[in-house]
């Protein structure tokens, strides 16, 4: 319970960065922090006390493994997060070359 709440606090730190900061790189960093928090939340949901990693071994037949399904989904999500970060950063680099700033209030021509 406390761990879930701490994980959501981490999510909110990233949310504050996205909502409040005016630097494009800070906004991208906030997005990354939110993504980390959601991945961690999924893996926390599948944890079991005294569980083993979900890999079979010869001398251990017991089925007290942690939940492998959230781990498999988060594995997909981590790689997609890399693609998203790279795409957003390339857009930010282009905006910097065109406008000479990362400040989102100075980028006037994006407004309608």
């Amino acid at each position: 319970m406390m761990l879930y709440f701490l994980c959501l606090v981490l999510f909110c730190v990233g949310l504050y960065g996205v909502l409040r900061k005016r630097n494009l790189v800070k906004i991208i960093v906030g997005l990354g922090i939110m993504e980390y928090a959601m991945n961690l939340f999924f893996v926390l949901l599948g944890y079991r006390f005294n569980g083993r990693a979900p890999i079979y071994a010869k001398d251990q037949e017991v089925l007290n493994m942690v939940d492998p399904l959230p781990q498999a989904l988060v594995l997909t999500s981590i790689v997609i997060g890399l693609g998203v970060t790279a795409l957003v950063i390339s857009i930010a680099i282009r905006i910097y070359e065109k406008y000479g700033t990362f400040d989102i209030t100075k980028i006037r021509k994006l407004k309608g």
Partner: protein, 173 residues
């Protein structure tokens, strides 16, 4: 207990990453968050995730540093600063309050329901031949998800190439 320490470290590093003025320091701090997440995956018994997170984190750091190097600009804070901060913090407080109420409905930490996964755990080796159940899930039981992941990844690569491409040379008259 280790998880609490790691999570508090991650929250502190995230606050530093959001609040520090220098962009390069901000990127390094978010790298610290990512590596702490890698350690947390190891504590949570997810070694595949830890390896993937390590590689992805290093790639992300390289890309972010490429974007921020030599481009350090001071930010000017203008009016309505207090109003914006207070409204954002109020919104986050409401979000955390409702999440606290909603988290009570989840199964408590350390006792997952494991409704779907029991079948995968029992039949994983005989059906797929893989001793690692995570690999069995992503490459056999849910292979279409992995196909979609590869599609998304290649789409983002095409997008990056289209955005960062140098404009072609103009034809001379």
């Amino acid at each position: 207990m280790e998880l609490h320490v790691l999570l508090i470290f991650m929250i502190c590093a995230a606050i530093v990453a959001i609040e520090v003025k220098d962009l390069l320091s901000s990127v390094i701090a978010v790298g610290a968050v990512g590596f702490a997440l890698c350690l947390a995956f190891l504590v949570l018994k997810a070694p595949d995730l830890a390896i993937t997170q390590l590689v992805v984190e290093i790639l992300c750091l390289i890309i972010l540093i490429r974007a921020t190097i030599n481009k350090d600009l001071p930010l000017v804070i203008e009016g309505r600063w207090i109003f914006n901060t207070v409204s954002t913090l109020g919104f986050i407080a409401v979000f955390l309050l409702f999440s606290w109420l909603a988290l009570k409905e989840l199964p408590s930490f350390g006792e997952p329901t494991m409704a779907v996964v029991k079948k995968y755990l029992q039949e994983g080796v005989s059906k797929t031949g893989s001793v690692n159940i995570v690999t069995a899930v992503i490459l056999d039981f849910r292979a279409y998800d992995t196909l979609g992941e590869a599609t998304v990844l290649f789409t983002s690569v095409i997008g990056i190439m289209a955005i960062l491409r140098r404009p072609g040379r103009k034809k001379r008259e």
